[in-house]
Amino acid sequence: MKNVLVVDDSPMIRRIAKKILEELNFKTCEAEDGQKALAAVNADMPDAILLDWNMPVMDGLEFLINLRQLPNGGSPKVLFCTTESDVKHITKAMQAGADEYIMKPFNKQIVKSKFEEVGLC
């Protein structure tokens, strides 16, 4: 079973995302900001990360840049999941090493489709 780290400062979004991912047969864990997510990946590198952009302490983009510099940081598929929904943000995320991009609000069909796109569904 593949492991997905859900990183979002909203407990509600984390809960919804985890429910959808578990229905898609993923094992999930969570973090509420980029810094806590970095600690989590250092302890156990997940197969994928569902990543919010705007978070306190460390935002999603800064986390992604840090992640990709870690020894095994190139391996997880990173899917942004954010309210930022313009071409500029999507391009910036992909250039920083994101594999896919989900614009909120999302539903199960979109999550499934994006995880299929990165080869995990």
Binding site: S85, V87, I90, E100, Y101, M103
Partner: protein, 288 residues
Amino acid sequence: MSQAFAALQAFLLKSSGLSLDKEKKYLVEARLTPVIEQAGLSDLGELVTMIETDRTLAKKVTEAMTVNETFFFRDRQPFDGFRNAILPELLKHRSRQRKIRIWSAACSTGQEPYSLAMIVDEEARNLAGWTVDIVATDIAETVLKKAKDGVYTHFEAQRGLPAQHLVRYFTKRKDNWVISQHIRSRVDFRQQNLMADFSALGQFDVIFCRNVLIYFAPDQKRDVLNRMAQRLSPDGFLVLGAAESVIGYSSEFKPHSDNRVILTRRAATPQHEPLRTGASLEQARAAK
């Protein structure tokens, strides 16, 4: 089964080939209640009486009962097959004509033909000097209008469409995503009922007819498949939906290679050794 339901079944079968099971009564209620209310009628009985003479209302009923579920690069496999098996073979076999014609039958809101157009665009280097016509048809004018507009909601634009494609081929307009003129201009949308004569569409090298015939009654399915065979070049390709098969309905087609949704004409005599699924366009060019 009520007389009204039976009359609706007969109407749909005749007008669009749609086979409506008696278990689908809930679907009739969900889809036709708004049509009944909008027309100021009281029930299904009145509606089936009215559609005998009111062509506009009849068209609305057909459109309401048609399934329009679609999304970009739906099921992925047929599109990988188009890119990696069909295009390389056509590049070999059409090297003299340098022209490929594709038909997306029952294209709904346009995601299928636009997905094909994006692949054609990505393969522009290999297709330099070639003409690729994509004709997309549907019975319903409302979905065709949406397809022609090329404007997709936040949810539609994210379903099946990789972020790289979204950025490359769409622009954001308020909360919607609009397909680029460059891709839109590659697709020729036309209204076409598959039950009617479609010979005026011409001959094709590839026909995508996915997740349509599953809703057709056996006789209508046979008829459409056999008429599609006549529209397909002898070495052309028919692409069906994942749950569809021609077995028992047409002997005109046979599976292509190991890709079970891609079929070729049974009578076809390959002029060249077919490439295996997965062969690249570069390999095809090198083989020429």
